[in-house]
Amino acid sequence: MKTDSELAPLGVLEEQILVGVLRTRDEAYGMNVRREIERVTGRELAVGAVYATLDRLEAKGLVASKRVVVDGMSRRLFALTRVGATALAETRAMREALWRGVVLRTE
């Protein structure tokens, strides 16, 4: 198992998807995660990218998945692991530290 600091900061897509998993909770299937991110950010995401990223996150141990049957179809339901939660929290902390005191101005 890698130490937490090695996993943070997460990539933007990784971060978005982890937050997406958190937001959809009991219904965190690939498609729902994608829809949730699209709904909130207003940006279209490729389904392949979402599934591939979720898979890679699981290989890193940031999420875990299990099979559930919904409406007669087997789906992979994702949930954050402790490591994932820590990595996400650290990523957020890093970003907020970086932003602290910065005033966004345009010339």
Partner: protein, 885 residues
Amino acid sequence: MPPSAPRLPRVPFLVLRLLAPRAERDEILADLAEEYAAKAARDGGGAARRWLWNQAFASSPALLRWSWWRSRSGYEPRANAFRPGDPVLKTWMTDARYAMRRLRVRPGYTFLAVLTLALGIGGTAAVFGIARPLIFDRLPYPNADRVVTFWMPGWWTEEELLFMRRKYSGFTEVAGYRPNDVTLAQTNAPTRLIRGIESSAELFSVLGSPPLIGRTFRRGDDAQGSEPTVVISYGLWQELGGKPSILGTRLTLGGLDRTVIGVMPRKFWFPDPAVRVWLSRPLDPQGRNGSYALLGTMAPGVTAQSVSAHLPSITSVLGARFKYSAKADKTRDAQFKTLRDELLGKMRPAIVAMFVAMGLILLIACANVAALMLGQVEGRASELAVRSALGATHARLLQQIIIEALLVGVAAGLCGAALAAAGFHMLAGALPIGAWAENASFDWSVFVAALAMAVVAVLLVVLAPAVTLWRGDLRGALNRARTGGIQGRGGRLERGLVVIEVALAMLIASGAALLVRSVSNLYAINPGIDPRNVAVIDVVSNRNMRMGERARVLDNLTHALSALPGVRSAAVAMKLPLRGGGDSFDITIEGKPGLEATFTYFRIVSQSYFSTMGITLRAGRLFDSSDRPLADNDTTTREIPVIINEALAKKFFPGENPLGRRMGGGFNIAQRVIGVVNDVAEGALTDQREPVRYYLGGQAPWFGNLEAFVLKTRRAADLPAVLDAARQTVNRVAPQLAVQTTTTMERELDRAVGPARQVMTLLSLLSGLALVLGAIGIYGVISHFAARRTRDWAIRVALGLPGSRVVTHIVGQGVALVAVGVVLGAIGTLALAHVLASLLFGVTAFDAIAFAAASLAMLVIGVVAAFIPARRAGTVDPALVLREQ
């Protein structure tokens, strides 16, 4: 999905279906379908379709990366533990690794498979690269499809050209051209001869070819008294500095200052790539000066098919103005030929023959590798059976074979491309395509062709094992392996492949045999000279010399050359044998009236010409030192000696003694026959022997500005040194002359024998290759045949069958395969012989001796290849075999 949902676009779904890992596939597709339906209901079908396409496009890279990563890392989430299937690429990668391992542990098989395929692929790709510009590419003229050439090339006179101008029905424009090689004199470089064309002003507008810079000929450039102009090739322009300022400068071509008016683009050639200058020619309205060929642009609406309909009106215009003798009636036998046929037609048979042969080699290689692979599949029967019993599907086993073939194919494609690159220029030089050989360039298309051939080859190769696998009863194989294969028949497909291989090899071998016969027929023609150890030096005069001066210069040079070490004798002649007919003039004979429009060839030669060339005296005497050259102002000499050949003696003095007879014609002086020599092939090797008169240079004027020196050396090994020394001697003794080319008479003879010789050399090499490949195939199949029945024979030998019977039986199997192949090959040869027909001389395409030779070669190869495994099987100890099994 509700029943009212719109139909799903199939392609994007298919893409995603192919790329997504199998465990997740259904889920992803179902979600997409659901969302698609929702979108279609909300935003309309078009928007939904666009969205789906976007998804497919945007997802592909991520999905591919995903599959690749999973295959490489072997990662599979726990949630998928009981889902069917692996990632798409995973099995392929596993199989590729496995195939790689299998290929590595059998280096002999791998080497043989890759090498045989590479030879076929490389050869075919190289021939394709050479043939592409000649056969497949458009000619480099915008009007190429609208230009036809006129009948009887080399026939039209300037008078006819000018009279017919703008009178050709069905044509917008017609141009006349003829070859005219000229010397290019440069201040800082030696004078050299360059290939040229002189033409009427229409040439470039007929072709529709614009210049790179400057202009081409325009109306009036061919008028009498117009300024001499020249259009030069891109290559010559580059040699002369490649600056645009060349326009308007003057080049001394053939002793005449010509203004450079234009440069043609790099890709332009006409009528072949060796031509470097196109010269304007002032046409003479009364000019009987002939040998022009015509080409014209067809009028709009006229096609290559309908143009013949205009022939009668053209010939009637021509016939009304000019009167032709029956023998040379230009208004008869009129026909048009497409430009491509005229320019490239002669090379096509040779190239097609090579293409076919190379393709056959590739097919043989494929059959060979397929047979090898089939043997591998059969050898692995037990392994495959076990795997199948453990749950592997046919498709999966097939996939493995395909991957192995693909690996071999890719390796062979790369090696083949390398071979093609290495052998490209050699092959281009070996093919009878003249100046195109230098223009042939190895480019990406050859590489693409090589890879395409590799793919084709792999598909062909995989066919046979796939069929066996599909049909085969794998579990049965397991049983057979246990019981030792007493019932083991099989191998029919394998043997079929070898039969095909032998048949194809037979095609090539009999083609080569036909050409060998044809070429030996050509060499068997007695050219009338002894070409051995004769060096040839072609020289050209830099400037105009008077007759006496020229004769003196040539005489001095001849003496200097004959004094060179290693030279037995030296001579000079206006035109050498085998170099085309050349000049002829009229002949009159005292006491034989009625010879008015009769012409014969004449040759101006030096004293020792006959002995140097190995031409023998039949009667009378040759020129000797008593025959003195005439001075320029000589008016007292009344007659000069002439030597005639046997053909002339036979034609004009049948049953008489020609010696001492007086002839006239040509020169304004009487000529007395002093000797008769044997006939020599003055024009083409296969021409009828024509009457020829020989005059002594100095007594008769040296015509033209080209002469050829011939030097007979003591040994063949002296030739290069003598040629070098001769070149220096010419520069030292006769600075008025420049050496054009140096060659040997034997090479001239080879050239005269023509394209068949070059095709023969290549085909012989290829048939050697085909025989070797065939032998490998036979050996492989017979080895398998023998190995499969080892137990069978062991029992029989144990029961008293002598080992020699086993050997005979197995060799018999091999011979039977070859025999069937030979018969099929012979049938194929008969069908394909017309490809070679135009290259053949003195043999028909159905030549029994050539067939017999090829069949014999195949049978011998078959026996030898089968004997090795047969001996092994015949000498085996039955006790050992039976114990082993």
